[in-house]
Amino acid sequence: MTKIKKGTSYFYLGLVFLFLYAPILVLIVLSFNDSMSRTVWGGFTLKWYMNLTSNDNIMGALGTTIRITLTSSILATVLGTSAAIGIHYMKKRHAAIMLGATNIPLLNADIVTGISLMLLFTRFTPLGEFSVVLAHIAFSVPYVIFNVLPRLQSLSEACFEAAMDLGATPSYAFYKVVWPEIFPGVLSGFLMALTMSLDDFTITYFTKGAGVNTLSTMLYTQLRKGIQPELYALSTILFLLAFILLLVMNFKKNVRKEAVK
């Protein structure tokens, strides 16, 4: 009886993984396909990987993506962390209003955010890479706030006050007592802002200027005449990087646990 149960549960698990990873597997296989077509197997090749670095189009988009993502997520983390600290020490009613306001961009449909930001930006500045960075900061800040706030709430007020009593200046007390406690929250907020910015298509599409392309907006314009296979290669590399990063992080955690034991 239990054997059957176990069998079915493994089968179910297998199905889930199949649906999750089959598309990525297809992509990886296609990145080695020596033919531009998606349906014909033309033999094994590494040429798309070789071509990748010499393709200005893709390299340009990759550079823009990295620039925009890093700038916007770092700035959003700084802004979001300070905002979270501010909100934490506000009066209850004010904090509730601020939190409500923070929730709005999260719940808002991307397309609404995108169009409204575009309308706002065109009033003051020509659209370009800079406007995209501003837009990305705008939608990333709430993620940082919501990652940092719980950390602050679990922080004991007494520690900070004790440090002050013992002669620390407020900023010294902050870096020695508060910062180490909230750091994991800041980090996860930063990583979330990073992924959100990397992922975004809709808002970028509306707020970007002519000639500015991130990976996602470049892909979109290629749909009509078929996607360049170099992009399969790039996606494969990106997937593997994320995968390795995940493995390393889990491995480190396990090592630390062992050490504690």
Binding site: V40, M118, F121, T125, G209, A210, G211, K225
Partner: protein, 355 residues
């Protein structure tokens, strides 16, 4: 209180500085040598774009779009001032009627002489006084078929799409105007008819065809034909040429009744801020070397008569890429529908897809 005011002020200044300095730089650069170009995705050879910037010293902001409707939305959003745009015939006509086009100064285009007079004449369908456009690429709508499954005689008439023998082995084009064209050609009607009864007949004939259709596709058509999932497909010549590159058994034909000729052209919209640079761009696109490079990348028929000198005989003999004069004489351009007809045909198309 004072303290708070100062800190608020400093934050404001800090935030404002990059914005101000940025707009400053932006508009300076904009005033001199930049050009904002809007074109279909993957519709230019990257080297041509690079060479233009090097030779003229003009910095190009090159923007791409996916479909004609996409282009129109982008343009209408008004967030970017485009200087020069390339798009398809019927959309140019719509925009011309809206008064969005600025006349081109043909005297400043020495390379314009390279453009085939026949294609310029055909452009009259969307640019009757020939003031606004310069052709970039063109092509036809016809049938891509697998020579192992269908013989040429069968596909030389649009009737083959109603042949029960090929039930569930034909791919129909997933575009309202092109699908209507096919049925109208079979019925012997004009492809620009606005007569309600004729449109109803067209609709009924297409409903009748639906039982033989394997799928309605547009972009994936050539994939479907390469993998031999279907015996024949209604598609654009560019699509067909791509398919024939991968499967030697495929061939393309424009049936005897004729079909549609489409032309993608450059034009200057009202938002243009750099007219002289736009003229240089259009002229560069007509240049012999640039046109050859573009042709070898895009692989659609080029209206540039000088390109032929650079191609080998096999390419020139390829009627898919270079339609013969005889084929072109059988083909006609679409004229933009008036609002009523557009609504009516859209309803019919939706009914057909739901039928």
């Amino acid at each position: 209180m004072k303290n708070r005011f100062i800190s608020l002020l400093s934050i404001f200044v800090l935030c404002a500085t990059p914005v101000l300095s940025f707009t400053g730089c932006g508009s300076d650069a904009e005033a001199t040598d930049t050009l904002v170009v809007l074109n279909y995705g993957k519709y230019i050879e990257a080297d041509v774009l690079k060479r233009f910037q090097k030779e003229t010293g003009i910095k190009v902001k090159y923007e791409e779009y996916e479909s004609v409707e996409d282009m129109y939305a982008k343009y209408k959003a008004g967030s970017i001032n485009y200087d020069v745009i390339c798009t398809s015939d019927y959309m140019i006509e719509t925009m011309r009627q809206e008064g969005e086009l600025i006349p081109i100064d043909y005297n400043s285009l020495p390379n314009y002489a390279n453009i085939d007079q026949d294609i310029i004449d055909a452009s009259a369908a969307f640019d009757p006084t020939h003031k606004y456009t310069v052709p970039y690429f063109y092509g036809t709508v016809g049938i891509l078929y697998n020579t192992k499954m269908v013989d040429e005689d069968t596909v030389s008439s649009w009737d083959c799409l109603w042949n029960p023998e090929y039930k569930n082995r034909t791919v129909m084009i997933n575009s309202q105007r092109d699908a209507f064209m096919v049925a109208q050609k079979k019925l012997g009607y004009d492809i620009n008819t606005t007569d309600k009864k004729e449109l109803d007949d067209t609709f009924n004939l297409l409903c009748d065809e639906k039982k033989y259709v394997y799928a309605y596709l547009q972009d994936e058509t050539y994939e479907c034909m390469i993998s031999e999932d279907a015996a024949m497909a209604v598609c654009y010549s560019g699509e067909a040429a791509m398919g024939m590159e991968y499967n030697e058994d495929l061939d393309y034909i424009v049936p005897n009744e004729g079909g549609n000729l489409w032309i993608d052209s450059w034009f200057v919209p009202r938002t243009c801020k750099h007219y002289d640079a736009a003229m240089k761009w259009i002229d560069f696109m007509c240049e012999e070397e640039a046109a050859t490079e573009n042709f070898e990348y895009v692989w659609y028929a080029t209206p540039n008569t000088k390109v032929a000198q650079h191609e080998d005989e096999e390419t020139l003999a390829d009627e898919t890429v270079f339609p013969t004069k005889e084929t072109l004489s059988r083909c006609k351009l679409y004229e933009a529908y008036d609002k009523d007809t557009l609504d009516y045909t859209t309803t019919l198309w939706k009914k057909l897809k739901a039928y």
